[in-house]
Homo-oligomer: 438 residues x 2
């Protein structure tokens, strides 16, 4: 302890009790933040159709659209009506359902596509064109002047039909910034409803997103929509940082299904947003319907819900380590930022393992309606940990150990058998209740 004189006593600092700010809420410095005022464009029926396993027939599309509407998404985006004949008919059918969610379809920035789209009955059309040098060279081969001219033509046509119109670049984070700002300024001036930023390859990182959206926000007067792929695991926080910077709408898919490993998952984004804007999220979206919505889509595309999915992953509310279980039992907020009840889920204390602690075991003892002192709970916990060292335990294993231990401590031990003695009298101290069952 030779360095002891360098130790500085630490004094508790106490925050004033009157401060009621949500520490996970919008940062007051982000004066353009839409964290508490965002909208969802669910693209399970467009981007999601591009998922490797996806094939939705008309009936399934309608079922998914109704479930998204019941959850409360603001918009539902559908595959382009020019993708195939059935895609067009499905688009028309979903428009006729009379859902509360607005219906969009997603087309190339081309008059041929726009003319078909406006006839389907959609509330809005999302147009997209690649602006990165990669896409200009290897996809459509057009220059920025051509892109701007096509955009203006399509936007004015769709607007003339009284239909909402969004213009998005593709692969925005690998596009030239000046090119991007130029075209967004142009389309904003002619009255586009939304401009879209798309991280088509999933390369963007959160602070990069924040900077681009903040810059774009100073150039356009319309809403900003964002579309983030998840190749490098950043889709959800990129969406969050975009909202912080002033974007208003986020594209999601149920379970994030889409091209490659997909985009922002609806459930994961809800996990992020309920922490930042609990009242807004809980009042606007039917969070209890999330699990059924995910099961519906998972079954339709034949995947399992990932074990580590936010909210609905099988262990998302399971607490295991002894030290965690102790605190959770005292106050769930200790180790939970999400309340499982907000999503119609339950928390679970995993006590059948060698990392268990006596607080978790004591709770189990209580659940079993048994009476053990704290010291006895500690003793039986040691027995459980010992077996847990040898093999994986089940709840039944733990319950058996607890019940055996309880029987042992509440029943007087048999004395070592004395020669020629009758031991019957020596177990007479058994509780009356137990006797009455014999």
């Amino acid at each position: 302890m030779s360095d002891n004189k360098e130790f500085q006593p630490v004094t508790e600092s106490t925050a004033p009790k009157t401060r009621q700010v949500n520490p996970y809420g919008p940062n007051p410095a982000d004066y353009l933040s839409n964290v508490e005022n965002f909208q969802l464009i669910d693209s399970t029926l467009r981007e999601g159709e591009q998922f490797a396993n996806a094939f939705f027939d008309t009936e399934k599309k309608i079922e998914i659209a109704k479930a998204l509407d019941a959850f409360g998404v603001d918009y539902i985006e559908l595959t382009s009506p020019v993708a195939s004949e059935q895609s067009r008919r499905d688009c028309e059918a979903i428009c006729k359902l009379g859902l509360k969610s607005k219906i969009l379809t997603h087309i190339r920035c081309h008059m041929d596509d726009a003319k078909v789209a406006v006839e389907t009955g959609v509330d809005g059309v999302d147009v997209v064109i690649g602006t990165s040098k990669f896409l200009r060279q290897y996809s459509h081969g057009k220059d920025m002047n051509y892109i701007a001219k096509s955009a203006v033509e399509v936007i004015e046509f769709v607007k003339s039909k009284g239909i909402e119109i969004r213009f998005s670049s593709e692969d925005s984070f690998r596009s030239d910034l000046v090119d991007l700002l130029n075209i967004y300024k142009t389309v904003s001036q002619i009255g586009v409803n939304r401009v879209g930023i798309a991280d088509t390859v999933g390369c963007a990182n959160p602070r990069q997103v924040y900077e681009l959206i903040r810059t774009l926000k100073s150039v356009v007067s319309c809403d900003i929509e964002c579309h983030f792929h998840n190749d490098t695991g950043c889709a959800i926080p990129n969406a969050y940082c975009a909202l912080e910077a002033g974007a208003r709408l986020i594209d999601t898919c149920v379970l994030g299904i889409g091209e490659r490993n997909g985009i922002v998952p609806l459930g994961g984004l809800m996990a992020r947003m309920i922490v930042a804007a609990p009242e807004y999220v809980k009042s606007k979206y039917k969070l209890h319907k999330l699990r059924d919505l995910e099961v519906l889509v998972a079954e339709a595309v034949e995947v399992n819900i990932p074990f580590n999915n936010p909210i609905t992953g099988f262990s998302a509310f399971t607490h295991k380590a002894g030290i965690h279980a102790k605190a959770i039992l005292a106050n769930p907020s200790t180790y939970e930022i999400l309340n499982p009840h907000d999503f119609g889920m339950k928390r679970y204390i995993h006590f059948a393992n060698r990392l268990t602690g006596w607080n978790a075991i004591k709770t189990r003892v209580d659940q079993l309606n048994l009476n053990l002192t704290d010291q006895q709970c500690k003793d039986v916990t040691q027995k459980i940990k010992k077996l847990g060292d040898i093999r994986q335990l089940t709840v039944d294993d733990v319950d058996s150990i607890i019940k055996d231990f309880h029987a042992e401590v509440s029943t007087p031990q048999l004395q070592p058998k004395r020669d020629n003695d009758d031991i019957q009298d020596e177990i007479s101290e058994e509780p009356a209740t137990k006797k009455s069952h014999q």
Copy 2:
């Protein structure tokens, strides 16, 4: 087009050809960035043991430790030797393997634990104590003075044994900032090797992380380690932003397994980091071993690799939409920020579906060694899309359609059968090669 005069011609801006900066690399403004100089502490054998399904026997722990070492993680963190008798023996056994990765164990900030830990043969000890008001109230019940005193005692004891020592708070993002900085300054001054920031409940967002690490960096002179839970889907980008701000070490688990839905997944972080620091990542970590490592752990804890896992999810390199397939065939970078070959993986163009395009089909035609003109490829694509509208397609379905079409266009059509005519001569134009097989 009445607003046409408002349209501003867009001119191409061309970046100087000499600029060779990686646009996804470290931001030059982050002068403390460790994006190109980070280290990994893999905690699959500690945090991962807290995953609901985890039970690793000695043999499995050793197998995982060897695989982590072969992958090249800098540190391997093990469950506390006081968690159970077998945990202590396993810790000793892994220390004796002579791995290149340094071995750590993770204990409570308590001399009883520290005394056991230093006897196991580990290279370093990670101590942790809850500093949030939640944990101080509901877990250990100690105040900040007590925490600081215990920390100093444990740190000096472990250092006296010539063993690396890390001090971490728990639930750092819900701890009082002044309390945190005070205790980190204290432990830094007495020569702790690393301080740890832990988002124990998964509440932090990326810009918040950046700010806290930047602030902490100005207070301590030692390395900063970060531990991020994934409850709100932000673990990977939080780790990235921490490195941007000057943190040096990130805790990972294979597939992210851990309490609840886990922490930063090793593979997902590799996806993020290879984009930002390709040379560093490729020279330091054996990325080709990632898939086998994930399969090993997935089987051990009886989970499936999530369908949407970065890099190893089954569709992570599958391209489906016609517009994507076209560009990918011309240049994979168009729709890929990750190169599958870096991870020993392959890309796959999904052409057997109604969203397919003629470029993808033309490639398939070439693969089948058939000769069709571009127009013929477009025609057969329409046939494929038509069947894809009715049901899910397999590769065999598409191949059959292509082969039938090819046979049709390269074989003269049979004329409607004329009465009493022998048609045998009319198909005599069949290729000689085919005839020779008859």
